[in-house]
Symmetry: C2
Subunit: 380 residues, 2 copies
Amino acid sequence: MTGAVPWGVTVTADGQNTAGGDDAALEAIRERIDDLDQRIMQLISERAACAQEVARIKREADPAATFYRPEREAQVLRRIHGGNPGPLDREEMTRLFREIMSACLALEQPLSVAFLGPEGTFTQAAALKHFGHSVQTVAMSAIDEVFREVESGSVQYGVVPVENSTEGVVTHTLDRFMQSPLHICGEVEMRIHHHLLGQDADGGQILRVYSHQQSLAQCREWLDARLPQAERLPVSSNAEAARRAAGEAGAAAIASEAAAELYGLQVLAANIEDSPDNTTRFLVIGRQPSGPSGQDKTSLLVSARNRPGSLHGLLSPFAENDVSMTRIESRPSQCVNWEYVFFIDLEGHAQEPRVARALEALRREAELVKVLGSYPKAVL
Amino acid sequence: MTGAVPWGVTVTADGQNTAGGDDAALEAIRERIDDLDQRIMQLISERAACAQEVARIKREADPAATFYRPEREAQVLRRIHGGNPGPLDREEMTRLFREIMSACLALEQPLSVAFLGPEGTFTQAAALKHFGHSVQTVAMSAIDEVFREVESGSVQYGVVPVENSTEGVVTHTLDRFMQSPLHICGEVEMRIHHHLLGQDADGGQILRVYSHQQSLAQCREWLDARLPQAERLPVSSNAEAARRAAGEAGAAAIASEAAAELYGLQVLAANIEDSPDNTTRFLVIGRQPSGPSGQDKTSLLVSARNRPGSLHGLLSPFAENDVSMTRIESRPSQCVNWEYVFFIDLEGHAQEPRVARALEALRREAELVKVLGSYPKAVL
């Protein structure tokens, strides 16, 4: 506590008692900052006026035009990310421009974005990371509801987890794409953390660790080193794991900080995931496709004929056309006609000639090829 | 779904088919936006370099100097708020500058801010609203822990609810100030919403509505109009209300969206609070006091002698010195010597002469006067 006089009035601790020379130097820099702020505000205002003008021209050509263009936004952010002179981190500068663009867009066309709730989840954080804080986010209680809200037009976009390493929802999202006319128009990546939660921070032997299978796998090395004797018990979700740990002596859970609060558990050890790059990937879904941005990905749903060598036949058009696949995932088909369905991510936009050629060749091999979307790669 | 060709490759819906004149006009505006972005980035970078220079000068004078100055930040934001030329809302422009300042400060001195958790609460949102998104927020499970984290120096600042209309935590926060050396160095206001939650969206008679006393009071008119027959049952918290509603037929709860998700309830009616301005107020607490910003508030803790007319005697120095009180709250003292303790908010900084005079007069009347802090009024 600094500078409290007897009757409690306090004097400032900062800047009031330094030498005169420093004060003058600080004052000069503050004036310079104030001047910079005025100029920044002026330029941001000009930018917003330009965005209004773009909207006016587009609206004249098509009264129902949408102004959010994922490919254009990705290009702007990449230019900022690549051209940032410092001293701010390029991530910070890119984040600031995300917010500036978000504010300019909201002026013309406020966006509503549905996400897998509740409030405060990683999916909401992903939606705000992608769209900035000038959009309205709307919590849905299931992935299916996010799709329906976008399909019905109640909201313009949705954000759903697709490779969620803790809850295994990837299958719900991918399955839902089989019957949806929506397009993938963006991806977002978020880092996630796991914690060891228990009832008693002072120790007490931990005999069992509950968690979702994938979380247990992601913390395997830590568990081997620190709790080699504890039994590892996979359960349906990390929230369920925390619930059990709260009710059983000798039990702990691997789960989030929110789960600790919810079930009154202590964080016994924080950030125990083996890989420092433990990320979860989300997809942005909308009714309009995204144009090419120069650095894009394409996601496909492909059904294979059930015959020997079919997977090899499916994949060869990619290699032949020099198209890299970044992910392939097989799922049992929900339709009796096909034996298997594959979800494939590849590099490039479906409008690029080499990708278009590969897709054309793929169509000759596969029962069905559905392009779920071509979209800009995540900038951050 | 637009423009899907048979094998699923999609064509862009946007900008590709408009007339040549529009395209040229749009291209010209986009080039102008790109140019503005480069200049904005340049100026933000210069601003960050200035912030580094301020930090260097301060650090030379005092190696342990803190660079976050609430009063300076409030002054900058007020200038932006008042000088914004449009077309962006002044709220949006101010929010953008909050983020720019947050990023510049984080470059020199990353801030950690403790809040009443878990993640995703209003208190976290308040912390991010006040400090911007470049700070690290740390969830605590109790108000007392937030105070202790700041007192111990583990984090620089804390954010606690002080007038929380739903959970009644105001008393915990105020009581904790009685024994804390911390200063209030800011305030944040957030709008909050109440929802009617139940098990069955299709109806079924609602016989009982559970909620915290204050939430029931805040939704009284809505309940009178829509559920006049239902019994209103106050419980300890809105989360407890949701828990009960999930387990009893014919029961509903007034609580947040997060509680709906948590207990698997449906939102039967959203935003049922009677007042559209249902705000919750939070305080920012830290170890250093804040200097005058020109538009400040001061919060006091005052103990009264137990004698007739003591309250009137206490308050007269304010009127005599033309100091407005914005709030007064009486609490039973936790110390046997005093009968009552009052928490008083008033307009002005304790360093302003008229406030200093009023406080001096107050000291002659009261057993104890403790200035909890003078701090800038919330800008937004």
